[in-house]
Amino acid sequence: MEIKVLGPGCARCEQVEKLIREALKEEGLTADVSKVKDMKEIASHGVFGTPAVVVDGKVKSVGKIPTKDDIKKWLKK
């Protein structure tokens, strides 16, 4: 599973990454988690705002910090 956190690197982006890593650990899963700070690449995903989360190529969240429960649902699909 590939998870991307889109955002220029603010506290909210860091929080999203932290929640993803916690959710993965709690679910006993592994994934390739990366941060995307390049604005051209962020724009290529068509998101209106950041932070945004992309799981296996699908945008799951835009402009907000998702809950850990939401993240766990994405991991299970």
Partner: protein, 130 residues
Amino acid sequence: MADECCAGGSNRMIVWCAGASNVGQMTHQLAVELAGEGQGRLFCLAGIAAHRSGFVRSAKDAEDMLVLDGCPVACAAKILEHVEAPVMNHFVVTEMGVEKAFGEELKREDIDQVKASIRAALAANENPGQ
């Protein structure tokens, strides 16, 4: 690491039908001018209609929105409904005193009049009771 980098700018998404008629074309002009005045940020309705996941998710997660349709066919609003995104602050140009026609140039006074009505309605929604 910046604290505010994800929070900059307006969070109001502006989408518009950009139809072929005068009122459809006026929605484009209105959108560009209202964005330039800080009333929101332009967003790509075609990306939502194409079911691109980033566009659809952005529409679903939008905090605020301005939806501009030229006529009651309401293609912009229908596209949002189709992807189960909320439709907020929806305006239809023909319901604001401009008649639908084809091949006519936009009149500056019509654009200004419709824009003023939209601005007033947005301000009223932001400050209910004032």
